[in-house]
């Protein structure tokens, strides 16, 4: 933690520990450099990207929390990294640091509409390519669906 503060002064906006798990919120500008550092030996060798996902807070100006869960085999330690982005704000992809991020970022794009810069193949993964809307956003109602897609592809009025 101290090493992080020293290497990236001003980049860490918030650091909390809840239920023994440290969580760090970092500035978007230093995300890539920070990820490279964390993956390296002196940064703690967080070589495994366990998970990348997002949480939507529509009332905030920067509505999305992008959440990374890292694991270090050497330290046997988990670390949560967070970046805040606004709705149409592009975010650097971490696929160059951890190739595992490829599908995980595609899923975040699919479900939340977060756009990544530098992703090798950013397209929908779980939903059909032509689908309109991002279902895990809070303003997407649970009963809502892309009625036009359902009608033209499944030939039914509603999937409900």
């Amino acid at each position: 933690m101290d090493a992080l503060q020293k290497a990236f002064p001003g980049a860490i906006q918030e650091a909390v520990v809840f239920r023994k798990m440290p969580s760090i919120t970092v500035a978007k500008e230093s995300l890539l450099a920070l990820c490279h550092f964390l993956r390296s030996e002196e940064g703690g060798a967080y070589t495994l990207l366990t998970d990348e996902t997002a949480v939507d807070y529509p009332k905030r100006e920067k509505r999305f929390d992008i959440v990374y869960h890292l694991y270090s085999f050497e330290r046997n330690d988990r670390l949560r990294l967070k970046v805040l982005v606004a709705a149409a704000e592009p975010l650097p992809s971490v696929t160059e640091v951890w190739p595992a991020a490829n599908w995980l970022e595609r899923e975040v794009y699919d479900m939340f509409g977060v756009v990544y810069e530098g992703h090798p193949d950013l397209k929908r993964i779980l939903l059909p390519d032509e689908w309109i809307g991002h279902p895990l956003r809070k303003d997407y109602d649970i009963l809502r669906q892309d009625a036009a897609w359902v009608k033209s592809n499944l030939g039914i009025e509603s999937g409900q």
Binding site: R19, L49, R78, L126
Partner: protein, 370 residues
């Protein structure tokens, strides 16, 4: 009009699935072939997407638990276990020892069931017809124990947040011990059928090799990671329940090929039997429920909890805003992340090996698509 006909084409695109018996569900793989060799591939998934994470936000904490069973539907017990433990972590609730050991017994039985199903279907995919009948016969005994315990065979919903809904039925301990006694010689039998079988070795040795570095880079966990030679099991490194109080080994492979992953899973089955025997011994009478109120209303906060599911690291990231509904539940499914490595594992191999590699990754599409 295309300039060249398909017969002249040196490269050919073919679709494997989504309706294909060897893709274990509705996985579609687009393959780019040169003759019979795979040049590259792309997975098309989502055919079974049900929006489980969205459903979670519209249910209470307790109401969502049965939905978790329907993700990895061949290992429902471990799915539910990961979720209830994540919420317990959020609530900071201690689970009494009797409930912990019961959970471990059922989770290890589920691991056995999952591995048995994997072994049978994987061998069937590669042309060995016999094992599937044997493994399903043994799996049936496990499902009978589940049925006697909670009334359901597959989607068990066996655990509740804070402990167990049901105490053990009379004789569960004996049933488990009898089953362990019965299973061990059967595992030897499977090994007699396959381990030194020349056809099996030819079909699996050197097929779908995944180096340790690649495995970590692609986030692969579970038996696939251990098959690549990395001794990493969440039950050992970050123990949950009472896994720190039982003895077991973590088997690993050397070459990271399909054969090594087969050996790893076979060995894991023996270790599971070992764990079950120790847990049954320690099932002392006592309470089965921790201090959880009727209404589950965790404090605002976020937890990530992961367990060693039969297929790898199963993680739940639960965000609470202090109400009775979870604000967000993220499921980190092992199959989804492991499937990413398929492309690098099958490049340069034959089409028939694609089937072997899909089998050895042990994916369940209900969990990939959620």
């Amino acid at each position: 009009m295309p300039e060249t006909t398909y017969l002249d084409a040196s490269e050919l695109m073919i679709n494997m699935g989504p309706q294909h018996p060897a893709t274990h569900g509705v996985l579609r793989v687009k393959l780019k072939l040169d003759g019979e060799r795979v040049l590259g591939s792309e997975c098309v998934i989502g055919y079974l997407h049900r929006g489980v994470e969205k459903i979670a936000e519209n249910r209470t904490y307790a109401q969502f638990a049965p939905y978790t069973d329907r993700m990895d539907y061949v290992a429902a017990v471990t799915n539910g276990m990961g979720y209830v433990e994540a919420v317990e972590k959020l609530l900071a609730v201690e689970v009494p020892p009797r409930a912990q050991y019961t959970r471990m017994v059922l989770a290890e039985l589920q691991r056995l069931a999952s591995h048995l199903l994997w072994l049978g279907t994987h061998a069937l995919d590669l042309g060995a017809m016999t094992p599937v009948f044997y493994t399903f016969r043994e799996r049936e005994e496990i499902l009978k124990i589940f049925e006697k315990y909670c009334g359901a065979r597959l989607t068990t919903h066996a655990f509740r947040i804070g402990g167990l809904q049901y105490d053990l039925y009379d004789g569960l301990e004996q049933d488990c011990l009898k089953f362990c006694e019965y299973l061990l010689p059967k595992i030897d039998e499977y090994e007699q059928l396959l381990t030194k079988n020349r056809i099996w070795i030819n079909r699996t040795r050197g097929v779908g090799v995944l180096s340790a570095a690649d495995a970590i880079a692609y986030g692969v966990t579970g038996p696939v990671l251990r098959g690549s030679g990395i001794k990493w099991d969440i039950r050992k490194v970050q123990p949950y329940e009472a896994y720190d109080k039982v003895e077991f080994d973590v088997p690993t492979g050397e070459h990271g090929d399909t054969y090594d992953r087969y050996i790893v899973r076979i060995q894991e089955m023996r270790q599971s039997v070992r764990i079950i025997r120790q847990c049954v011994e320690r099932l002392a009478p006592g309470p089965i429920f921790g201090k959880v109120g009727k209404v589950i209303k965790p404090p605002a906060g976020e937890v990530y909890h992961s367990i060693e599911a039969p297929k790898g690291e199963l993680g739940y990231f639960v965000v609470s805003d202090g109400t009775v509904n979870p604000y967000r539940v993220r499921v980190r499914p092992p199959s989804f992340v492991n499937l990413q490595a398929l492309d690098i594992m099958i490049r340069g191999h034959l089409v028939a090996d694609v089937v072997a590699v899909i089998g050895t990754l042990d994916i369940v599409l209900g969990e990939v698509d959620r």
